[in-house]
């Protein structure tokens, strides 16, 4: 909690050091006179000293009110909640794919270390780590164009065209086809993360004494691996997962903006372009809170799963 107050204070200070002071869009509008600006400033409380503004803002935030967007006057909280489902859809799919593929790949590599397969998977993981997301997206787009595969690039659904009469009907196939590319791109990066963690964690477990004991008892390779090994090797993975979970709400800025995906990340980029202070603050604060919360959760879950861990 003290951490969160500190975070909110720092974020508030940073954002309010912006030149327009929250009125950026209005300042550039030639139809708005300096008198209007002064009145707006007064009405929004922007003429008061910064600490007073901060306390007022904090009070609002504690009541769940993040203020109003300066660009379209929508309550910030609503704007963020509105985008949650699409971000959830994208991030959830991507994480799910990444976890399934990444964990199996890491496991596959760990049970035959230093073989061709292992090197192949490790190298693949390095590629995933070293690639900028947006470039991967561009290359996918290029590859699809060259081979003439008509996968939709960008947007959540097919945009309604003139000849389509009912554009708002839910179409599962359409949804999935729009999901494939962004989810693949995001999953690719996370597969690398998961497979690397899984591999090193499994390798560590394989060397432990209890694994040797299990082998000495004459248990089969499968039993040892999946009953004794996997259970313990998955503990660090749980932590990693908990630490990536804030992304489920925060979205992915780069991926969403390049695929025109209407999620949280794109909300942020749009707000940044419009100097929409309230949205930026809300986004940052909510995300920082989530990070703190999930870190705490990771600690607790880790301690729960692994009795060897003691906190001082």
């Amino acid at each position: 909690m003290p951490l969160l107050f500190l975070i909110s204070m720092i974020l508030f200070l940073i954002i309010h050091s912006a030149p327009g002071g929250g009125l950026g869009p209005y300042l550039q509008n030639p139809h708005i006179t300096p008198a209007d600006i002064a009145r707006l400033k007064h009405n929004l409380g922007l003429d008061q000293p910064l600490p007073v503004q901060y306390i007022a803002w904090l009070g609002q935030v504690l009541r769940g009110d993040f203020g109003y967007s300066t660009s379209n006057s929508e309550p910030v909280f609503n704007a963020i909640v509105e985008r949650l489902p699409s971000t959830f859809l994208l991030m959830g799919t991507a994480y799910l794919i990444a976890m399934i593929v990444g964990i199996s790949a890491g496991l596959f590599a760990a049970i035959r270390p230093y073989t061709t397969w292992d090197y192949l998977i490790t190298t693949f993981a390095f590629f995933g780590q070293s690639m900028p997301v947006f470039w991967l997206a561009l290359m996918l787009q290029l590859g699809l164009a060259v081979h003439g595969i008509p996968l939709p690039f960008g947007y959540l659904i097919q945009l309604p065209s003139a000849e389509m009469s009912s554009s708002d009907t839910f179409n599962l196939g359409d949804r999935i086809s729009h999901l494939i590319l962004p989810a693949t791109v995001l999953a690719f990066l996370n597969i690398a993360l998961y497979s690397r963690f899984m591999r090193s964690s499994m390798l560590e477990v394989v060397r432990t004494d209890y694994m040797r004991t299990a082998a000495a008892k004459g248990l089969s390779f499968r039993t040892i691996l999946f009953k004794h090994g996997l259970k313990n090797a998955l503990i660090p993975i749980v932590t990693v997962t908990a630490l990536t979970l804030p992304g489920l709400f925060g979205g992915a800025i780069v991926t969403e903006s390049i695929f025109a995906w209407p999620g949280e990340g794109r909300l942020f980029i749009t707000a940044l372009g419009q100097e929409d202070i309230a949205v930026l603050l809300g986004f940052l604060l909510i995300n920082a809170t989530l990070v703190v919360f999930f870190n705490l959760l990771a600690d607790v879950v880790y301690a729960w799963l692994d009795p060897r861990v003691k906190y001082d």
Binding site: S130, A145, V254, L284, V300
Partner: protein, 434 residues
């Protein structure tokens, strides 16, 4: 609150097995890392001598060959390309020359930012680690006690005042719905967690159970008081109790330099890096009259925000190093703290710092490319690998080379550095499992 708990434990450094010669031998065995060294060396060479190697001026438009139509690389269209080996970019500038000068910018940004991050992170981390759990002398203790009591009084008062203020002017209303429930639930969980973690015996299971119980209590509290503003009294009591708890923690914390430093570190680790970078660069871009982000600003912002990881690593290393015999010996001979920190401990902490720094260079290259791609990094016409890709999407269909080659440069450089970092980790830490 311990973020990423395992990092807070001292790191075991086995310097008996470690020597520079064996480390180099181990590093050479790592084939991918050696390949990485070669690739990186080429990139660095090209970057340094870009002004000599580049066949054309990177910002000049080739008026002869550029008529608004795409000019493809020579291997696609040898007749038309006119010595532009990789063709012209979307503005008619030589792609190879831009790539070379882009290498210069991208690598310099990365290295400078990492140096900055290392200086800040190592300094703070070393201080925190070295003074981490200072043994109390009478003098320190009495001084600490004064500070502690002052803090206790101040924060209890502040907590009470804040509670009163919030209750008076911003009554929590539970019928407001979800946000209130969440806040109260989190508050309950956090209070329970804080209380229980200071009470022995410490079992993780107890912490977990009480945290959940606290969360449920908070939730119940939110439900039981439907529709009415929570009474001022309740808020004051919560404020005083909680303020006292914070004061207690902080008071004890101030006995330790490291508490303060690590809290600051926690703050920066909790705010997602990319959005924060974007906001800061956005603010700078909007406030500077030139309406452009200079190279130095980017370095300052990236370096100034990415040090907490290093600080945490260095702290963990120092926590373990300061218990060593040679540190003790150095103290016994009467060396000053500053000298011990810099001359005796720092060389021994270099192994993990080097590995981290190497991997961070790779990360910063990617980070810079993302910033530039979104338009918040290095500004055109100066070429960086990231901003060369900024317009690539629009021209993807007829000028694929504009999109492919800068990305390949990023990919191979970052890959090379990551391999080197991996090799270094193996070579410098014999106990690590790849």
């Amino acid at each position: 609150m311990a973020l990423a708990a395992p990092m807070n434990q001292p790191i075991a450094l086995d310097d008996e097995v470690y020597s520079k010669v064996t480390a180099w031998k181990r590093f050479r065995r790592h084939k991918l890392a050696m390949a990485g060294v070669v690739v990186l060396a080429i990139m660095v060479f090209v970057a340094i001598f870009a002004w000599k190697l580049a066949p054309f001026d990177p910002n000049a438009i080739d008026e002869v060959h550029w008529q608004g139509n795409p000019v493809a690389p020579c291997f696609e269209n040898a007749v038309q390309c006119g010595h532009h080996i990789l063709g012209l970019d979307e503005n008619g500038r030589d792609l190879v020359s831009r790539l070379m000068f882009g290498a210069q910018i991208s690598l310099t940004v990365a290295v400078s930012a990492v140096i900055m991050e290392l200086v800040i992170g190592t300094l703070l981390g070393a201080l925190a680690g070295y003074y981490g759990t200072v043994t109390l002398t009478w003098k320190r203790f009495s001084w600490g006690l004064v500070v502690f009591l002052a803090w206790l009084a101040l924060v209890t008062f502040a907590g009470g005042a804040a509670g009163y203020f919030i209750a008076r002017y911003f009554p929590l209303q539970t019928h407001g719905g979800l946000p209130q429930l969440i806040i109260l639930t989190l508050l309950g969980a956090k209070i329970a967690f804080d209380i229980v973690k200071n009470i022995p015996p410490k079992s993780p299971r107890k912490v977990a159970i009480v945290t959940v119980a606290g969360a449920m209590l908070g939730y119940l509290a939110a439900l039981i008081l439907p529709g009415k503003p929570i009474a001022t009294d309740v808020m004051i009591i919560v404020g005083v109790l909680y303020g006292g708890l914070i004061g207690f923690q902080f008071g004890f914390g101030l006995l330790r330099v490291d508490y303060v430093i690590m809290r600051v570190t926690d703050v920066f680790l909790s705010i997602p890096l990319l959005p924060l970078l974007l906001v800061l660069t956005g603010i700078v871009a909007a406030s500077s009259t030139k309406a452009s982000l200079s190279f130095e600003t980017i370095v300052l912002i990236i370096g100034g925000l990415s040090w907490p990881g290093v600080a945490r690593l260095v702290r963990a290393t120092y926590l373990s190093l300061r218990e060593r015999e040679y540190a003790e010996a150095a103290r016994a001979v009467g060396n000053s703290d500053a000298r011990i920190i810099l001359r005796h401990l720092l060389p021994n902490a270099m192994a993990p710092i080097t590995v981290q720094a190497t991997l961070d260079v790779a990360n910063v290259i990617v980070l810079e490319s993302v910033l530039s791609f979104l338009g918040f990094g290095i500004q055109p016409p100066t070429a960086s690998w990231g901003n060369m890709l900024a317009n690539a999407e629009a021209n993807l269909q007829d000028q694929w080379w504009v999109a492919v080659f800068p990305g390949l440069c990023i990919l191979f450089t970052v890959l090379a550095i990551n391999f080197i970092g991996d090799g270094l980790r193996d070579a410098l830490d014999p106990n690590a499992i790849r």
